[in-house]
């Protein structure tokens, strides 16, 4: 699975679905090789556990531009309090010069603002914010694009082709950027994380969730750091997973093949049919409004 409801032995991060990353995606914009789409989904089973983004959290997409497994660029998403059914987002981009350190958001005062006061969508219509340089942004309630026979997995890989996520929703964050905002080297590594204020030091942030490759934390990396959890992506290529990840990429089948040495080839579940052909690509939610 992706990282819905988190890995074995772990509780939902900070027991807060709002910062629980379910999936993230990075792919070349269909029809425009000069742009990249990055999507970060949180809040599994929304709106069962939460109906908003967390206002004091920082949602982050990190980009490694020189293949040293350290982030060089950060895209940061922050949200206002939800008031009278409205919430707004701000997106910044930071070029990082030092390694990440818990408690601090490195380079935050030199951040470049990409998007300001973007409305969060809580209904069926996706409100898209257009910014300079062809940047587009969306945040809000959407259909969960992930597909997987969860029951078959729980039943010891006895798959029946039943897609547990077919009618589930998430809160999605989608950003469309010109490739140059990802640096000069087309071979990048991308991962996402969420940070929340420390309990005893609320002015400091601590990471509560990180995700790179789908399934790594949940299935293959439960408790041990066996692999660097980074999604590799060549933004000049339109190929999908393992080059980045598109919504329709069957990461479960690929992972099953790898981990079972070909003995289990598929969970029998294919991509959803509700993906949009255009930004933000995430389908209409299964209930009209939250």
């Amino acid at each position: 699975m992706a990282d819905h409801l988190d890995a074995p032995g772990l509780n939902s991060p900070a027991t807060d679905a709002r910062v629980d990353i379910t999936d993230h995606y990075a792919f070349q914009k269909p029809g425009d090789p000069h742009k990249t789409i990055m999507i970060l989904n949180v809040n599994p089973l929304a709106p069962s556990h939460a109906r908003e983004f967390r206002h004091d959290a920082v949602y982050e997409t990190l980009v490694d531009t020189n293949t040293d497994a350290q982030p060089d660029i950060a895209f940061r998403y922050r949200f206002s309090n939800k008031v009278a059914g409205q919430q707004f987002a701000r997106v910044t981009r930071v070029e990082l010069t030092r390694a990440l350190e818990d408690g601090h958001l490195e380079g935050d005062h030199e951040a470049e603002t990409l998007v300001e006061h973007a409305p969060v969508s809580f209904g069926s219509d996706a409100e898209i914010t257009h910014a300079e340089d062809g940047v587009r942004f969306f945040a809000g309630f959407r259909s969960d694009p992930f597909f997987f026979d969860l029951l078959g997995f729980l039943n010891g890989l006895k798959f029946t082709g039943s897609d547990f996520f077919a009618d589930k929703n998430v809160f999605g964050i989608a950003l469309e950027v010109p490739n140059r905002l990802l640096g000069n080297n087309p071979n990048v590594g991308i991962w996402t994380r969420t940070l929340v204020p420390m309990t005893l030091q609320p002015n400091h942030l601590t990471q509560v969730k990180q995700m790179g490759r789908p399934g790594i934390n949940t299935v293959f990396n439960h408790g041990n750091d066996l692999l660097p959890d980074i999604l590799t992506f060549n933004f000049n290529s339109a190929a999908g997973f393992l080059n980045g990840r598109r919504l329709q990429d069957d990461v479960i089948d690929i992972s099953l093949n790898l981990v079972t040495n070909g003995h289990v080839a598929s969970d029998g579940v294919g991509p959803h049919t509700d993906y949009l052909a255009q930004f933000p690509y995430l389908g209409t939610p299964h209930i009209p409004h939250v």
Partner: protein, 155 residues
């Protein structure tokens, strides 16, 4: 009390407690008999089972009246490993089961027959009839999951 030291007071308190307990014995005995005809349990199993990492916790719990063969049970799937289950139930996997019969079997086992009255809880093709076998001596419950029986530990 004025000349009584603390040790004496404890002795007296102890004797008093014994007297109270003795007086209450018939009542306690009757309750114990009634309790013997009731059985409450909570059993769990991590799924998927090893060698795969357990991603969720299957929980079956309930209370049975062994005299009347009635009771109520629930089965549900919680996100998280059995050592640290969350309070997040995976949707569509909770069942409320009305107990319609309990058969005592050899070896302190209970065969429990139940029914899911609310059919909207069922997956397509899933039977509303539920059969459980509780092995009280071994502390396990054999319960259906998907197309097979799994063994949960009472704890």
């Amino acid at each position: 009390m004025q000349h009584m030291n603390r040790r004496s007071m404890f002795k007296l308190a102890g004797a008093g407690s014994a007297m109270v307990a003795g007086a209450a014995l018939p009542v306690v005995g009757r309750l114990a008999t009634e309790q013997a005809n009731r059985f409450g349990f909570k059993a769990t199993l991590g799924l998927p089972e090893p060698p795969l990492p357990s991603y969720a916790t299957y929980v079956v719990e309930g209370n049975l009246d062994l005299d009347t063969g009635t009771g109520l049970m629930t089965s549900r799937m919680l996100a998280g490993h059995p050592g640290a289950p969350s309070e997040i139930g995976l949707p569509g996997l909770t069942r409320v089961i009305k107990v319609v019969g309990v058969d005592r079997q050899e070896g302190d086992k209970l065969a429990v027959h139940g029914i899911v009255e609310d059919r909207s809880q069922l997956q397509p093709g899933e039977s509303p009839q539920v059969e459980l076998l509780i092995d009280r001596r071994r502390g396990v419950v054999h319960a259906p999951f998907a197309d097979r029986s799994v063994t949960l530990s009472i704890g």
